[in-house]
Subunit: 396 residues, 2 copies
């Protein structure tokens, strides 16, 4: 019997709500809050009124505290924007409420991913006797669990990891982002980074690409990006010698992005417009299709996995663990596309494992710090089945 | 001895001010007014304080009337936005002040060029005993004069016209428009249109292109656009069987434009942004380089002309009349690029011919309704020398 408060009613928030409802033995009271109350109303309608909804500006800590005091949830599931992680964590500290999110904090005026800000909350969460689980989406999230599972199951030591993320879907729009465009574009326009032999190597944004054979999809061009799980995985698996993250983008997507960057529309530096200060990227977001509304005619699938090389009984082996998810199936099940689905389902699973005390701790944790098996089992039963296969060769 | 009030302190407005100063035997008192007073201050500085400046929102007729009553100009030179043509003409009617502009009125909420709105003022201007000269830029403007000159000099009847406009310059930016981006983009994203055998034929925007040999530049790809002078020329030269307008755009320009259109940034339909109504195209304008500030490193030239086919002594002949203008020369002379220069110089010439009574009339007029020769002579002495050559073949 648990009350949860889900903050954020975007595309992935909607999935979390619906998957929690499907697990109502655990999630008995589901509350949804968003700055944009109309989104809550819409989701409530889709859920036959089986949830309770609230208007909340989670930037303001005291507002979140008030709502928590009113609802008294066991857990906050943060599906809001990454900028809001810290204010929501502050509200959790003040009210001794457990916390889970899917994306690490980043400051609003700087496109920079780092766990440092949230890790700094570890002692405070520990003192308050509460738990925060960071990054329980697909990547980060499931990818961390895949690696933990591989380390426990297949390897004596893990040495090299390539996380490969392909969205081979077609939404039918000339240009649309699959999650919050602001966050999506910030992710891609910042410099790339990977870890090799004890050092972080920085590259110009989108300057390194490689043809990768994505399972059940085929060969697609992946670009080397920095992604937040690299930071926590390097910390928790000291044997890692090299770890990289690759994501596919179509030439059309890149062209659109280049143009928007060229003209200054992806900038997060406010400009003066008719006496008002406006961030171009925020304005761009408001003209682009809403990721929560593009699932209707979305075809194709996502294919996301980890290629892991290491040793077992002194022999070098490579394994690939992956999930493939069809946009159409997600739309049918929860009125969402696969990118939202693959983020929302693991958030629900992480919440479930916290609430039923399978994953326990006091302080701030990443996914790979817990036993992988219960999470891997849930993936299979909650709509994200995975496969682990032998690989002939690692990614060069 | 004439007092003029120039409204609009953009890139072309700056050229008009400076060219009027160079003709101070005619333009003895020069006033400049703009909504953005800082632009007036900048231009006044560049003119060694030899002009007087005023803050004016010309959307509000009573404001313009007040300023006119204060200054008592012989002529208003309207270098503001096309949306402002009618309110400024209303102020002229009220104060019995002569009027000249460079671009026809278009309603703000619809990208549609037509002289109809301004022609409808003819009787009112006539009654008030004042004159309005419409479209005294390069195209429209000089192009109309070229055709009038050709009709008077080379032909018995004119049958076919292709107006060809090439900017072969390089401003060094990934994407910039050469005049007000709002107007430039409205011009290009509306459907194309041309006149053939008594009918207007409409085509999808940018769907028809042709390799054209531009004088002193070479072969470049020109796109068929609708341009306002087609309407007045067809009216004033009933012998015309076909008239088209072609303008060059680089593939890079088109790609940028396509992307911006795809994502909705060129739309003139307001969207709701944080509770405010904002026109995407206006916001886009504010992130793009200011056309008044891109001349510094602008290289290359413009080449604009008219290919005219008709009969002389029952023989079919084709003539090309054109001007070539170098961006660098314009920058040196008046701190402007050639697109602003070729618009501003003809505005000054039209004003001069009105003020010295070479072009006289009561009512609303287009350029081709007056004798071409005095204007053609001014072009040669004011920085826009032209050539008329025989053509072997017309544009197919």
């Amino acid at each position: 019997m648990s009350t949860v408060l889900i903050i954020g009613a975007g595309a992935a928030g909607r999935v979390v709500v619906k998957k929690c409802l499907m697990n109502n033995d655990i999630f008995t009271d589901i509350h949804l809050a968003s700055r944009t109350f109309s989104k809550c109303i819409q989701i409530k309608k889709e859920c036959n009124d089986k949830i309770q909804i609230h208007e909340l500006d989670a930037d303001i800590v005291s507002n979140t505290i008030s709502l928590i005091n009113k609802i008294k949830p066991s857990l906050i599931i943060n599906m809001a924007l990454p900028y809001q992680d810290l204010p929501i964590m502050d509200a959790c500290l003040e009210t001794k409420t457990n916390y889970i999110d899917t994306a690490n904090y980043e400051p609003k005026d700087e496109a920079k991913f780092s766990y440092s800000w949230q890790w700094a909350y570890h002692e405070k969460f520990k003192e308050q006797n509460i738990m925060a689980l960071l990054g329980s989406g697909f990547d980060p999230g499931v990818t961390n669990v895949f690696i933990k599972y591989a380390a426990d199951t297949f390897f004596d030591t893990i040495e090299k990891i390539d996380i490969i993320d392909c969205n081979d879907g077609d939404h039918g729009y000339p240009f649309a982002t699959n999650f919050n465009p602001e966050i999506n574009i910030r992710e891609i326009t910042q410099n790339g980074r990977y870890f090799k032999d004890g050092e972080w190597i920085e590259i110009e944004a989108m300057s390194v690409s490689k043809n990768i054979d994505f399972p059940e999809v085929g060969i697609r061009k992946g670009y080397l990006l920095y992604h937040e799980e690299l930071e926590s995985l390097v910390k928790h698996f000291p044997s890692i010698k090299q770890i990289r993250f690759w994501m596919t983008f179509s030439d059309n997507y890149i062209n659109h992005l280049n143009v928007l960057e060229n003209v200054g529309m992806t900038s997060i530096k406010p400009i003066s417009f008719k006496g008002q200060s406006i961030v171009p990227l925020e304005f761009l977001k408001s003209v682009l299709p809403n990721p929560a509304e593009i699932s209707t005619n979305y075809s194709g699938k996502t294919s996301i996995g980890c290629i892991i090389t290491g040793t077992k009984d002194s022999k070098k082996i490579t394994k690939l663990i992956y999930n493939v998810c069809k946009h159409e199936d997600c739309h049918k099940e929860v009125n969402a596309q696969a990118v939202s689905y693959t983020t929302g389902v693991p958030a629900m699973i992480g919440a479930k494992l916290m609430l039923n005390n399978t994953w326990e701790g006091k302080g701030v944790f990443n996914m790979e710090e817990f036993k992988a098996e219960p999470f891997m089992n849930e993936l299979n039963s909650q709509g994200l089945p995975w496969k682990a296969i032998d690989c002939d060769s690692e990614l060069d």
